[in-house]
């Protein structure tokens, strides 16, 4: 992936790259929205067992997803968008799973 970055990086203008950015915003954006909701569910007010909070958490996925998805097109290239989502999700989900105790810290 790194070598492809260097070729597209030289282009200064914002590139449309519809398919890559849509994949980044659709799939990566969804995973990121879910991660934010997950952190909020466990470590936000009330914690994971607060009554009825699961409904609110479920509802919050969509607005976060919509916001992230629509802003993904601001990445200069499609590869950058994909790389960003990949890194942020990998790091974020690892931290989340570690915090939750599913992964060795």
């Amino acid at each position: 992936m790194g070598c492809k970055m260097s070729t597209t990086d030289s282009v200064k203008k914002l590139q449309p790259h519809w398919w890559r950015k849509t994949l980044a915003g659709g799939a990566g954006g969804f995973a990121l929205a879910l991660l934010i909701v997950g952190l909020f569910a466990w470590y936000g007010p009330g914690g994971i067992r607060a009554a009825d909070k699961v409904q609110f958490n479920m509802w919050m996925i969509t607005p976060l997803w919509m916001l992230i998805f629509s802003l993904t097109y601001l990445f200069r290239t499609g590869w950058r968008a994909l790389l960003f989502m990949l890194v942020v999700n990998t790091v974020g989900w690892s931290v989340f799973l570690m915090l939750r105790g599913d992964l060795p810290a």
């Binding site: 909701v37 607060a50 009554a51 009825d52 699961v54 609110f56 509802w59 996925i61 601001l74």
Partner: protein, 541 residues
């Protein structure tokens, strides 16, 4: 506000493409959705008069419920007690008998046989099958599926497709906002009705989009959740909650087997609900699963001053045998902060707060949303058409421009005409003695809708716009005309209800019909006066 031209260019393309792919579906969703604001008045308008059965008091009601439950096993699954009656509710008890076991309970079972029960004028208990019009439910179904039939597993295909359209629509809203930001202050509320028709349509598109943006964001957001909540809950369970139960424990108490004769008296149930929710009026009690492990009465409670969970009423649950209120947290103001916030999302989609003024506001917002998609498509067409150059022959418009114009006119105007015809079909179908009125609605709707689309492609957008606007006017005017016919000519067996909500259906249709006729006249004039290279000109069409 300054935004680089790069960003504007990318977001303009994004806005165009997500708009054009979801616009026609969303038009149908919004138009039908606007009508569902007045689902109850429409159902009352469409209800053929039946001999009204009643119950004098709650003791009579108790004995009637007992008798019906003994004699009709299907009523034990699901039966509704109506504490208020109107034209569409002919008796205090109503239930349905389903031929096939509908396991998931999604969608409408058009083959179900409705029954009602009550006391006749002589005070005798009567249980009988009734023909029931599902007009309101079918319009609601059109709203939720855009008329796309079929299922994927347990889900309705149309709902999933509209869920995807809702996501595209969200992208369209945010990208639309971004491309408007640089000129927002300058152009806001500016409607340039000059020679440049495109400028006028663009101004109208922008001003409606911006002023109703909060409404549109709420609708886009809730549509996606309504379509995919099962998927979202499933994903949350797997990835976020893991071993933690999402909905608490369901209570390990062993199911107690009750006998149907041990039902709590209706008066007790109402009393308990009123104790728990003193500000509300109890309007319906729906008894569900009386012989199952979790019997429940879902009580509909009404007070327009509150923001509520349902399209009209709030709900709470009552145990049918003990009379204990079991879902207190669903009563507005009684739940946790979390459920209170979530209730707002439902209410903001349904417009179920503030009573009739808010319903009218939502009706108009729904129609203006439909206009947003219609105008968006026409702007797409307008910015892509080839213009005639000075002293050059008339250019041939591309196929995509001609087809998109035809599809927009056919789908949008076809949907309007088809819905109006189906509504009027409630009375005309009865007059024509249609055996199955709900099947008749569907034939009328799909017949006119597809007819209009075919017509638009065959005759071209310019001519079809005039024809279909006239069709919209005629079918919409049929609504008050059918009432008038019934009133003037009783032998027709067409009814003319005189209650205010049903008369408002006639008045609204009369106004809408006049507007469509005016629009048809404008479109006809435009066909001749439009510049020759316009997609709306006869020369091009």
């Amino acid at each position: 506000m300054k935004i680089s031209s790069d960003i504007l260019r990318v977001y303009k393309s994004l806005h165009t493409w997500v708009g054009i792919t979801s616009g026609l579906l969303l038009f149908i969703g919004f138009y039908a959705g606007a009508l569902t604001m007045f689902k109850q008045p429409l159902d009352r308008w469409a209800a053929a008069p039946l001999v009204q059965l009643s119950a004098a008091d709650s003791q009579q009601l108790d004995s009637l419920i007992n008798e019906v439950l003994q004699q009709h096993p299907s009523a034990r699954q699901d039966i509704t007690v109506y504490l208020k009656q109107d034209e569409s509710i002919s008796a205090p008890l109503r239930w349905e008998v389903h031929d096939k076991q509908d396991e998931h309970g999604h969608g409408i079972d058009l083959d179900a046989q409705a029954w009602h029960a009550g006391f006749n004028a002589l005070g005798e208990p009567v249980s009988e099958p009734v023909k029931q019009s599902l007009l309101g439910d079918l319009i609601d179904q059109l709203h939720r599926t855009a008329g796309i039939p079929g299922h994927v597993g347990d889900e309705q295909l149309g709902i999933l497709i509209l869920g995807v359209a809702g996501l595209l629509y969200a992208l369209a809203l945010i990208s639309g906002l971004i491309i408007l930001l640089p000129t927002l202050v300058k152009d806001f509320f500016l409607l340039r009705a000059g020679k440049n028709k495109k400028r006028f349509w663009l101004d109208a598109h922008n001003v409606i989009g911006i002023t109703s943006l909060p409404f549109h964001l709420i609708i886009a957001f809730t549509v996606v959740v309504f379509a995919f909540h099962d998927v979202f809950y499933g994903t949350l369970a797997k990835t976020v909650y893991a071993e933690v139960p999402m909905f608490g424990s369901r209570g390990g108490a062993p199911a107690v087997q009750y006998d149907l004769t041990e039902l709590a008296p209706v008066a007790d149930v109402i009393h308990q609900v009123k104790q728990a929710a003193p500000a509300f009026e109890v309007t319906q009690l729906r008894y569900m699963g009386l012989e199952g492990p979790r019997p429940l009465i879902r009580a509909s409670i009404y007070n327009p001053d509150y923001l509520v969970h349902g399209p009209v009423t709030a709900y709470t649950g009552v145990h049918p045998y003990t009379g204990e209120v079991v879902m207190k947290n669903m009563i507005p103001g009684e739940g946790s902060d979390w459920s209170g916030i979530v209730m707002h999302f439902f209410a903001l989609h349904f417009g179920s707060f503030g009573g009739d003024p808010v319903r009218w506001m939502y009706f108009l917002l729904g129609l203006s949303g439909a206009f947003l998609f219609y105008s968006g498509n026409l702007l797409w067409v307008e910015s892509r058409r080839k213009k005639q150059k000075r002293d050059q022959p008339l250019p041939q418009q591309t196929r995509s421009v001609r087809w998109m114009a035809a599809a927009t006119v056919g789908v949008c105007l076809g949907c309007i005409a088809a819905v109006s015809a189906a509504i009027a079909g409630a009375k005309l179908g009865h007059w024509l003695s249609a055996a199955d009125i709900n099947g008749f609605y569907l034939q009328v709707y799909y017949g006119i809708f597809f007819g209009a689309v075919v017509w638009a492609f065959w005759r071209g957008a310019a001519r079809a716009a005039v024809h279909l606007l006239r069709l919209c006017a005629l079918t919409t005017l049929l609504i008050p005309l059918s009432t008038l016919a019934g009133w003037l000519w009783p032998p027709s067996a067409i009814w003319a209800h005189m209650s205010v909500p049903t008369l408002m259906v006639d008045v609204t249709a009369l106004v809408a019909g006049a507007v469509f006729w005016w629009a048809a006249e404008r479109a006809k004039r435009r066909m001749v006066t439009a510049t020759r290279d316009s997609i709306w000109s006869l020369q091009t069409a």
